[in-house]
Symmetry: C2
Subunit: 229 residues, 2 copies
DNA sequence: CGCCACATTGAAGGCAGTCAAAGGTGGTGG
DNA sequence: CCACCACCTTTGACTGCCTTCAATGTGGCG
């Protein structure tokens, strides 16, 4: 049953058994295979999704086909809330990266849920706040930093997260294909490749496949802060 | 009294007299002169602000001092909600562009307000959703479009808004200094200047000071969509 | 009238995207 | 187990947009 996963989702954290059952009651389950499109930009938005299992990427496409990943959504997180509550159309594309189990919340039904459960409203507000932080950071990095700095920042974030999870943060594993990482960083695979090499040649990191070892955290921090390579 | 303005703010729309009084009760008034800093990046965030009068800019600074404006906030809108609900520090700077009257909502008190008034929660969620759309659009434009397209888009938005307000959308007035517009568009004043000139030379617009006349809306739309100049 | 901030223009250089091709890698089926 | 294929990654050469630096133009205001 999805209730157990539901209870772990930040927006439903702290709800009781009975309440979770109500939440599950207004949602519709949807499962789809890797590669499938969840929705396309411009589609009519009738609600938002919560990921139960798998990974979903949310992205924009440029006129000439380049892709900018806005975020990748993992279990417990929701996406397309903005579209659902700001009305109209989805402002981006969403595609399953792996086989996925999703919950779909129709806007109106969710609205009623909120009216009855302020906790859920608060959870949603907090989740949106976190997403906003993420977006603000992307804007900052795209506008003000070059690819080297964005990559360094990304590697540091990864390393810190790994540190917390396993107590060992010097070796990280890139959680996606490099092409995808490139579009997450607002660049293309060729440039990412060159930038990784420059960091290697400066003895700041060592790369083997998708394993990255941090050799000189000090300087990696400097690069992330804007120091040129 | 601020209650009348409050009632017009999107997040408090639809509240009754009595409720608005409660809302006003948890807020603190703060007025400050043009140029004053509301908060700096890194300051401890204890709540968010609603603008009653004036204009506030929210922006990031790069290591070498370049400025990226995230948004300008006008009466009835709030800012720093993300910081307030996602905890910790303000992720950007905020500065008064004109003399301002602000309302400050302390996070905990607002939280209680929400618990009692689902309508307010919903208003906040919708407001955040709108902001998210705005941020997503900025990311898209910074990552995928060049300066010409961003400028064209900006002019069109301005023109549409003027159309709605005055029924006459062909002549618009840039609402800020060009240097500032440049940083809103993620570039510098020199580039903005050149880009305006290119649009002029293509007979798409006519510029006189901060007056811009749209001569060929058709092609302006194409440029906004990514057509090279 | 002259100052000052803002705006414009020119020249030069760099970062990053595109195109093209070669090298790797993993997965599948024989 | 190996060979093949598709896809990803890397590398090189080139181009172009945009930033930087520097100098000149301009408009408002005391």
């Amino acid at each position: 049953m999805s209730a157990s996963v539901l209870g772990k989702a930040p927006i439903f954290r702290g709800l009781g058994e009975e309440e979770l059952r109500q939440v599950a009651g207004v949602a519709v389950r949807r499962s789809l295979p890797a590669g499938e499109t969840v929705f396309a930009e411009g589609d009519q938005a009738q609600g938002f999704y919560l990921v139960l299992k798998g990974k979903v990427k949310v992205f924009k496409l440029s006129p000439d086909g380049r892709e900018q990943i806005l975020r990748t959504v993992t279990p417990g997180q929701q996406f397309a809330e903005a579209a659902a509550f700001s009305g109209g159309e989805y402002p981006a594309f969403a595609q399953a990266l792996t086989n996925c189990e999703l919950l779909f919340f129709e806007t109106e039904r969710f609205r009623k849920l909120i009216a009855a459960h302020p906790d859920v409203a608060m959870g949603m507000i907090v989740a949106q706040a976190n997403l906003q932080r993420h977006l603000v950071q992307m804007v900052e990095e795209l506008a003000l930093k070059e690819v080297g700095a964005r990559l360094a920042k990304y590697l540091l974030d990864l390393s810190v997260r790994r540190q917390r999870a396993t107590g060992q943060g010097d070796v990280v594993r890139l959680p996606m294909k490099k092409t995808e990482l490139a579009s997450r960083l607002g660049t293309v695979s060729e440039t990412l490749s060159r930038t990784l090499r420059k960091l290697q040649e400066a003895d700041i990191i060592a790369v083997k496949g998708s394993q990255v070892r941090v050799l000189d955290r000090e300087r990696l921090v400097q690069v992330a802060a804007g120091l040129k390579l």
